[in-house]
């Protein structure tokens, strides 16, 4: 009997509206989603169980999304974790920084939930080798 294990995604944003929205969308699409409101909780959630993808807001209290990303990339265990940054910062310099820090994708708010889902699938597909 094969049991499909749901892909685990951690979503971090201090904006509860966004959090509710993204979590709902991903859950409907069959993912196992964990919602947190700050960077430290994000790291804890990622390290708690095997996670495939993290969707991070940048501007959060304490550890920013970029700090979390840096932490992940510096850690052997989480180096290869797929990360999508979801943020209102839209300047070229910010996008550059996001990718340079190691993000797999950068989604700017206001965003289309449907498009986000496509990007999640695309990033995961790229990851499956």
């Amino acid at each position: 009997m094969t049991e499909t294990v749901k892909t685990r995604i951690v979503v971090a944003d201090d904006d509860l509206d966004i959090l509710d929205l993204v979590v709902f969308k991903l859950n409907q699409a069959g993912f196992d989603t964990v919602a947190v409101t700050d960077g430290v909780a994000a790291l804890a959630a990622i390290e708690a169980e095997p996670t495939r993808l993290a969707i991070l807001d940048i501007m959060m209290p304490g550890l920013s999304g970029l700090d979390v990303l840096r932490n992940l990339r510096a850690n052997e265990a989480t180096k290869g974790l797929d990360v999508i940054l979801l943020t209102a910062r839209a300047r070229d310099a910010d996008v550059d920084t996001g990718f340079a820090t190691g993000a797999n994708d950068y989604v700017i708010k206001p965003f289309s939930p449907r498009e986000l889902l496509h990007r999640v699938n695309a990033v995961l597909a790229r990851g499956d080798r």
Binding site: D17, D20, F24, Q28, P110, S112, P113, R114, E115
Partner: protein
Amino acid sequence: MNVGRTFLIVGAAIGLACASAIVVVAIAKLRRGRVAARSRAMLAPYRHSLITMVSGEDDDGQAREALSAVSAPIWVRLRPSVVAFLPKVRGLPADNLGELMRAHGEIDEATRRLTSRSAVRRARAAYLLGLVRDPASAALVLPLLSDHVADVRLVAARALGTIGDPAAASGILDALRTQNGQIGLPAWVAAEALLAMGPGIGPVLQIGLASKDPAVRNVCAKVGGHGTYLSTVPQLRVLLATDSDGDVRVSSAVALGRVGGAHDAAILLRHTDASEPTVLRRTCATALGDLGQHESLEALAGLLADDDRRLAERAADSLVRIGPEGIVQLEMAATTGQGLSAQAAGGALEVAGLRGQLAHIAMGS
């Protein structure tokens, strides 16, 4: 005694006033607490429908129906959540939210309030219409660009930007005019609004670049570069060289850096000359980095020793951004150049190294 009686009156008045203040505070606090609790209770069942709709999972339209059918008292409490979501999402969910607002008569109400006597109402109405992004609202919001209250003009300009109808572009440029000693609109607000309107405004920009008003020329130059409107390039060159307004020249330089071609390297270089204003020199140095042409390399290297150290910094940064050849120039300057030059070059190389941009070298050789 007289003083005694006056005291009683004064004392009583003050005492009463104090008591009133305390009562006001208490009542305000009580009401707020009660309102909040009641709101939460009333809204709980609808949150799920709202999230369903906003995430685009409302395939059968049930959530939309349920939300459209809520009674007025519930809608009043639900409205802020809906309005909060509008600037956060795009696409179908945003359209659905807009429809929901329309179903509850909010669009009609906002349209009516555009001509309200209260400036706050006009502004709020314009803001709302901007959030909903219905193309039909553009024509309605347009007249608010000549409102006598600055705030309203601002909100109107932003709203027209988010609605994105290119037909409003010339209206925004007109609104830049100074009225009664007050500026019509801050330049950057106008520029951002125009940027949001897309490629269709090219012709309007070209007309604006030839305007008599320096504020208009300035905004058009900003937009031309940021939005990559190639058709504006010939005019930008002229403005950079000859415009009477310093801001216009600076904006043109920035723009040329972004949309210019190979020929523009020489033009930008010309304006880094010591005879030009400081701001312009620095802007041109940065713009050369944006342009990324190899013709600039030696001249930029020459600027590293300039007396204006900020200029030198920018020139060095531009060299990094041009690519491997630029980095080679910097390395030459860092090792063989004289004091100031070596310093600027070294600084830029350091930062480039930190950012991992020196990997270019390894790949290039």
